[in-house]
Symmetry: C5
């Protein structure tokens, strides 16, 4: 029995009216690019319009929480508020403890950001022990062993915006 | 001497007047379904009416805290406020550190959610190292080695709502 | 030289005018009961009146922080505010990671609860790797290898209430 | 090249006008006493007047954050506000996980206390794996292998009070 | 394929109008000095004026969050508000658990500081297991095995100030 399986969407969602922000770190660019593309493709397949997908970047993953906060503020200040945001970063274990402290603090800061900004924040952070793991989760390892996780984030963004976004009820 | 034992209810509770939300992730669906059913069955056995058990879902466990917050808000906006909520998710250790960071951040976010929403949040998150452990705690491993933990959550929900819910005093 | 030693009270305290709440989980009941009794005995030996020791329970340790919050609110709503509270729970390591996530989140939630409720919260949580360790710290293992830690909690409660409680200055 | 070295004061500080609180746990008293004395000696050597060093105690390290909060409040209520506080505790690893959960929660609670009380909180907590490590850091192991860390805390207190205390600017 | 690679700036930035604070601990001075110089050099190369780079210090890394908070307040009180701040510290694993608790609490406190002060806080904390690792990341080990990470922090500061600083929009 396959217990551990990909969650499927619970219904068909129509993303034509939602506005989605993607903000990504620029370290480990090959993996990041694949993940961002995966997210965009899934967003579009669920009806999100290209002009409603806004892309921004920060230097590294530690900058994601504050960058996401200000990215949301910035869009709102232009009268183009986001319904949901997907911060994307790829952390890979190195020889110091940098990986652990960054992964932990960024994960928690993104979680708690939601109540401050009032929109869903999708967790697009890979916390990998090897480069191979990161490539696999972006769907770009040689054997194509896994699907592109950016696709999951795109689907989650549409669902969360429609169910629980600022205009949901 | 059996030290480690299941806590029993301290008194008989009558759940006929309480309204319970269940919000569950959709990853690891087989286990999730069993846990949700276990919770529902126990709620009903303690008098909670079927129409007062509201079910909602989110894609994965990371979405539980914000989803729970908005699910509660949504029910309140319909003049049908919840007395207690049971977020349910099943996390299983994989090869990256995803399991650890999600488990930790979700556990703490659900804990701190209580003071923000003012109702008890029952901890329905399994943090398992293997699929086998998850199935056992849902009462669906082959040897039926453990009871369905969803039942505990249903009982805890009724007790916490009646003792410490928003209408308790 | 014995470095690691039990802290003694720094002065004699008179608990006759303070009101103490004890709220305990019901899992691992044998150990819990011994700890609760140890705390009560010490409270009484420091002058706390039996009618000023209020006992409440929650299903498990995860319910302690919210239960403690509402227990305090409930007593205040009856014009019988508590000066200090002792949440008591016994967590024992199992095969999943449940122990770690619960222990960590409950410890921090009880710590931060103090500033929200304005009274001292004594840390009555045992985080043990084995049942044997739990029994020893409740003073009920066969060899009576350790003293009942509930006694320390009772003493700490009286001291903290008198020095730093809501009526201390 | 000696990389890991004690930080020196960046300038001479004159502590004659500042008021310093020391609040210490009472477990592991031999080590605590040495650390408290080390801190006091350094404070005096930087000009802090004896009558401006206020000593208070709590039972154990878990009580430090709330005790420190209320100690500060108490001094302020007497029109004798503190400019800086040094909570001191000694935690030594035992057989349960008590050490880990206490160390972590106390460290973070003392850190976040600063923004609530508006004065610097110096970190006087030793988190040792053995008694030997604790004695060494208090300057009282047989071989006098290390200096008394209480001295560092005294120096840090004076610097932080003068640079960043409530009366600094 | 080189996955794990240094993130490059996404565009050319002009730092001539921004004001940058650097606040560093003084432990492990050789490494700290190299990192601070690396940051300053990169700031200047991106146009930041020397008179707009303000340097401050604290005793150790635990003092960084509160010191950073008050450093920002102090500059604002002089009508010379900072646009971004770079706290710099070097933590090296020792025999007790001091490294772990300090690293974790400082990382999280710096992260959450951003929403309190409203300016970006760049993460200039090295959390190394050996002195060798620290020297390598400051570009001062014998083999010059890595670049000076202070340079990354300088670049991140300019980008974050211009994109997401208090005067960005």
């Amino acid at each position: 029995m396959a217990v551990k399986g990909l969650g499927q969407l619970d219904q068909q969602y129509d993303g034509t009216s939602i506005r989605v922000g993607i903000i990504h770190a620029r370290w480990n660019k090959v993996v990041i690019d694949a993940l961002v593309n995966g997210a965009i493709n899934r967003l579009k397949s669920l009806g999100v319009k290209e002009e409603n997908i806004i892309i921004e970047t920060v230097p590294g993953s530690y900058e994601l929480p504050w960058g996401t906060k200000r990215f949301i503020d910035s869009q709102a200040s232009k009268n183009a508020p986001l319904d949901v945001v997907i911060p994307i970063g790829v952390l890979i274990k190195g020889s110091t403890m940098h990986f652990e402290y960054i992964s932990d603090s960024v994960t928690k800061a993104l979680m708690s950001l939601q109540e401050k900004v009032g929109i869903p924040v999708i967790f697009g952070l890979l916390t990998c022990l090897t480069e191979q793991q990161a490539m696999a989760r972006a769907g770009i390892d040689e054997s194509k062993s896994m699907h592109n996780h950016g696709e999951d984030w795109g689907a989650a963004a549409v669902e969360m915006a429609i169910k629980f976004g600022p205009r949901a009820f």
